[in-house]
């Protein structure tokens, strides 16, 4: 099938094009998943509106204590950016294991969100970091928690011509971690991934714990039970193990060519416990100055 390619020079023009061209028209950022879906006949893509040359949307900049990341920021940039590595180590870790180096030079953060794969690597991190997504539409801009954007496998609550422009990480997340399991050690779609973020209060108790898993449900999954259970508790191996059990119980994975549901549940537990342990170590290191 021929593919009509449009390259708008402004967000306004991009939205207009999308409205005119309708269903079979897709926004194109890095295209690292969209084009594969099209080539494998899994998505009808008659036209693309290429966002990749829109200026200024790939910036990573401070936002209060946190970060504001343009939707067109490449995985490679997130992986290597010094501020991301310090303020949100889990995001750098997740970006680092998306595809191979060539893919990471193309794939974008906004694309990873909009693509809404249940196995996306950066989306659980954004959930664990309580990120907001800034969305521009024909009727103006809105700012929504990332969780509200996810609607299921390959589906978001984005309206037809809405474009993700930025991701906001309101607070630093020095105590965050991301782990991923796959059959290989690189170039993998997650069999399961886990992202966590911990904040401690002045007494050293858990002020906030956030935990999200990938590839264990029809979308990236927040394990709210575990988050609630850990709040106000002193971090300990036993606590993390209990949270891991809740993570396993919350998982609703499928069996497929990559792994069985049983193994995925098992990994949900193991990765959760390890990610919590690692995030805690990082947090302690960040507060005491002693490297983890």
């Amino acid at each position: 099938m021929p593919l009509n390619f449009h390259r708008p020079s402004s967000l306004r023009e991009a939205m207009d094009l999308k409205q005119d061209l309708g269903e079979a028209c897709h926004f194109l950022a890095g295209g690292t998943d969209l084009m594969i879906q099209r080539n494998r006949g899994r998505k009808i893509v008659g036209a693309v509106v290429d966002l990749s040359r829109l200026r200024g949307l790939d910036r990573i900049e401070p936002l209060g204590d946190g970060l504001r990341i343009g939707a067109l920021a490449r995985m490679r940039a997130l992986e290597t950016d010094e501020r991301v590595r310090i303020l949100a180590p889990a995001l750098a870790e997740a970006a680092r294991v998306v595809g191979g180096a060539q893919v990471r030079h193309m794939a974008t953060l906004g694309g990873n969100i909009a693509n809404a794969s249940p196995a996306a690597d950066t989306v659980p991190v954004l959930l664990a970091l309580a990120a907001f997504v800034v969305v521009l539409g024909p009727n103006g801009e809105r700012r929504v928690p990332i969780a509200e954007l996810l609607a299921g496998r390959g589906r978001t609550t984005l309206q037809a011509a809405e474009i993700i422009t930025h991701v906001e990480l309101p607070r630093p997340a020095r105590g965050s971690a991301f782990l991923k399991a796959g059959r290989r050690k690189a170039m993998e779609i997650a069999v399961v991934n886990a992202a966590v973020s911990l904040e401690l209060d002045a007494k050293g108790l858990i002020h906030a714990a956030r935990l999200a898993l990938g590839a264990v449900a029809d979308r990236s999954l927040v394990v709210a039970d575990a988050e609630a259970m850990m709040r106000g508790q002193a971090p300990s191996p036993e606590l993390f193990k209990a949270a891991a059990t809740l993570a396993r119980d919350a998982s609703r994975p499928i069996s497929d060519v990559r792994a069985s549901a049983d193994y995925r549940r098992h990994l949900a537990s193991v990765l959760t416990e390890r990610a919590l342990t690692l995030a805690h170590k990082r947090l302690v290191a960040a507060t005491t100055g002693i490297p983890a």
Partner: protein
């Protein structure tokens, strides 16, 4: 003569094709474009097993830009196949695997070709697929080929129903040996289908000329076999088919059997224009020539001291819907089931079995890793059970010089004990298991050099260089570059003075082909013989030209040395052209197999192995206690290469082969469900990445072969054989878990631990 007298031999010289390949300007078959060329595409069956009721191509033909659509009705009704003639160009009344070609189109471009494929209507009556070996092998199983008795087949194949060859090696009194045994062990192992993993998909460009000759530019490994098949399928004289191989982006045995050549040729004839057919990744994964899946059962009897008394084994080899290489691959398991061991009595049998899956090929060391996994895993199990160190247990039983092989052949240059000891030393072998979740394992084996014949033609060029024509394809191993080292050494030329001509059936001398670890061995011998002819002719010519006695003419130092002067090759080459009609020289070779006891072996394509090589591998692994993730920390591959003609190239072969086999060991498999491939893409078909493979350390043993050039033995395939067993054994040491099916995934480890 001192060994280092030869300046070019045993040197890690850069490959002659290295620079263009590294820089990206080497021309491969997929780069060939001809004026007016059309795109050819195949319509493939979506069903694993179905009867075809009707095919309607009229809608496809009506699409503007479609030049032709062909089905079985448009081509000669011919069955072909190397050993069993059980396949047709297009499915006739029945499809037997998901991906089988049903029709082909030629169109102006890819998009139109795709639309044409979608417009072809095929009315299928879907049948139940026979997917597993056990289903197909069971008594009374549904026949995959109803009329199998009527197929023409090589007399070497013993066929029956779904079995397209049953081969056997049998000697000694197995019953008596089992009866007197201290212990008898029996284990079963399974291995999956593995794609050969070449980078360049199978691609052919065909064009017919005014003389009725079809030229096919392609990336096959065996141009002379492909020429034969095309002539057979199209019912035209052999000499009307010309196969050229400009360059090939990897083959690994997956491009031995015919690929897209016949499709390109029939389409080009049908539409009267050049046609290019190239496989997509999906087509590669559903319909190439992968490594057979196998199910191997081994029963071994030992005495109290740990000497092997008897072995009884059965290998089921899953050929898929057509026999392809299967009958010989199955037979080849027999030598591997015996292993490099002296065994009092042996009865090993192999069955090549049809299923409704992809027809298979001859992927690097065909049968090697499947049978070796079974034998070498069991060797470790036995050693542990007897309280013996696995190294010690192997050393007690391995072949020694002049041992008799499984078919009674006398073995020479036997180095297996040295390989084992050196691999153990390099990996830091320790008895027992000092660390939890970390362990070492080893495996050893042997492999043949395929013999048959090779010819080389040399041409002295006007600039004093020499063109070497060989019908063997440089498939990326560097074997022809190595043969050029031998040739340059013989002729007193520089390595870069040798040009390797493209393999072309119209001009190249015959060669049995780049397969069976034979290329450097055989082409190298042909080069030595051709060099003799070249030098004899050149001496005669120099004698005539300069009026000196022939015996006073020497050929060395890039020229001709006469009693009173040195004539550079460039100078004499010009005179030879003007006065002598140029210089063409020729050399051939044929390596016969060893003498053997024919009563021991039945239905085997290569009953006695020629010039075998020996090897031992050792791996050190970590296994994650909770996730089951396996990390290979260290890997040693010790190979007896006879003589390392080009050590860097030899190490490259070893590292590449180990890498491919680590893929089979840990991650690769073509997965079927209900006869349909579930992972026909490189997202879910997992070849190892650089992160999955450790630095592979090579240890070279040089125990010269009897008949290879300068003692060379084969090295193309052997590195692919031991890795799965070595890794499985290391995992067993680390975890106490014995995984008997490949690939050994983290999930299998966790499941075994839970059980």
């Amino acid at each position: 003569m001192l060994k280092n007298y030869h300046e070019l031999l045993g040197q890690s010289l850069p490959r002659l094709d290295g620079e263009p390949k590294v820089n990206g300007w080497h021309v491969y078959a997929s780069d060939v474009r001809l004026p007016g060329m059309l795109v050819g595409r195949l319509l493939r069956s979506p069903h694993p097993h179905a009867a075809i009721r009707r095919i309607d191509v009229s809608a496809a033909l009506a699409i503007p830009g479609v030049f032709g659509v062909i089905t079985a009705a448009d081509v000669p009704d011919v069955r072909f196949g190397v050993l069993v003639k059980d396949q047709t160009l297009f499915a006739t009344d029945r499809v037997r695997f998901h991906g089988q070609p049903v029709a082909a189109v030629a169109a102006r471009n890819e998009d139109i070709a795709e639309r044409a494929l979608a417009a072809i209507v095929v009315d299928y009556e879907v049948l139940e697929p026979i997917e597993t070996l056990d289903q197909a092998f069971a008594p009374g199983a549904t026949l995959i080929h109803l009329g199998w008795e009527g197929y023409e087949a090589s007399p070497v194949c013993d066929r029956s129903g779904n079995v397209c060859n049953h081969s056997r090696i049998h000697y000694g009194d197995v019953k008596a040996a089992l009866a007197k045994a201290h212990r008898v062990y029996e284990h079963s192992f399974t291995t999956p289908l593995q794609h050969a993993g070449y980078t360049e998909p199978r691609t052919s460009v065909a064009a017919w000329d005014s003389n009725g000759l079809v030229t096919i530019h392609t990336n096959c490994q065996l141009p002379f076999e492909v020429q034969q098949v095309v002539s057979e399928v199209m019912q035209i004289p052999l000499s009307s088919v010309r196969i050229t191989v400009p360059g090939i982006g990897g083959g690994f045995g997956g491009k031995l059997r015919i690929g897209m050549e016949h499709y390109a040729a029939v389409l080009a004839r049908h539409v009267g224009r050049p046609v290019r057919v190239s496989c997509t990744t999906e087509e590669e994964l559903i319909a190439a020539h992968p490594r057979q899946a196998a199910h191997v059962t081994v029963k071994t009897a030992v005495d109290r001291e740990g000497k092997l008394l008897a072995r009884v084994a059965r290998a089921l080899i899953d050929c898929g819907a057509h026999a392809g290489s299967g009958p010989s691959v199955a037979a080849n398991t027999l030598q591997l089931l015996a292993g490099p061991y002296e065994i009092e009595a042996l009865d090993v049998q192999a069955y090549a079995v049809y299923t409704n899956k992809v027809p298979t090929g001859s992927f690097r060391a065909p049968s090697g890793p499947m049978a070796n996994l079974a034998v070498e895993s069991q060797m470790d199990i036995i050693a542990r059970d007897l309280g013996l160190d696995p190294l010690e247990f192997r050393l007690k039983n391995v072949f020694t010089e002049n041992s008799k092989g499984p078919v009674g052949e006398k073995l020479a240059s036997v180095s297996i004990a040295e390989c084992l000891n050196r691999a153990a030393e390099a990996i830091g072998w320790v008895r027992g298991n000092p660390e939890a979740n970390r362990g070492k394992g080893m495996a050893c084996g042997w492999w043949l050099v395929a013999g048959m014949s090779s010819g080389v033609v040399l041409r002295l060029n006007g600039d004093g260089t020499v063109t070497m024509q060989s019908g063997a394809v440089e498939i990326g191993t560097g074997a022809l570059s190595g043969a050029a080292q031998i040739l340059a050494d013989e002729l007193g030329l520089a390595h870069s003075d040798i040009h390797i001509a493209m393999a072309d059936t119209q001009t190249s001398p015959y060669d049995y082909g780049s397969q069976g670890s034979r290329t450097l061995f055989n082409v190298g011998n042909a080069c030595r013989n051709a060099a003799e002819d070249f030098k004899a002719q050149l001496r005669q010519m120099a004698g005539r030209i300069y009026g000196v006695p022939v015996e006073e003419v020497q050929i060395r130092d890039r020229g001709v040395v006469l009693p009173d002067k040195h004539v550079p090759m460039v100078e004499i080459a010009k005179i030879v052209n003007f006065r002598e009609g140029g210089l063409l020289a020729r050399g051939t070779t044929f390596t016969p197999g060893p003498a053997f006891d024919a009563s021991r072996v039945k239905n085997h394509t290569l009953p006695a192995w020629s010039n075998p090589s020996f090897f031992a591998h050792a791996a050190s692994v970590d296994v994650d206690e909770e996730t089951g993730e396996i990390t290979i920390r260290d890997y040693v591959a010790c190979h007896d290469v006879g003589y390392a003609m080009n050590p860097a190239a030899v190490e490259g072969q070893i590292q590449g082969g180990v890498t491919q086999a680590l893929g089979l060991a840990l991650s690769e498999e073509i997965i079927y469900r209900d006869g349909i491939v579930q992972n026909a893409n490189l997202t879910d078909y997992k070849m190892p990445t650089a992160q999955d493979v450790p630095d592979i350390r090579c240890v070279l043993v040089e125990s010269p072969s009897v008949s290879g050039p300068h003692g060379v033995k084969g090295i193309g395939e052997p590195p692919c054989i031991c890795p799965p067993a070595a890794v499985a054994n290391a995992i067993a040491t680390a975890t106490g878990l014995r995984i008997t099916s490949l690939p050994i995934t983290a999930e299998k480890i966790v499941a075994a631990r839970a059980a």
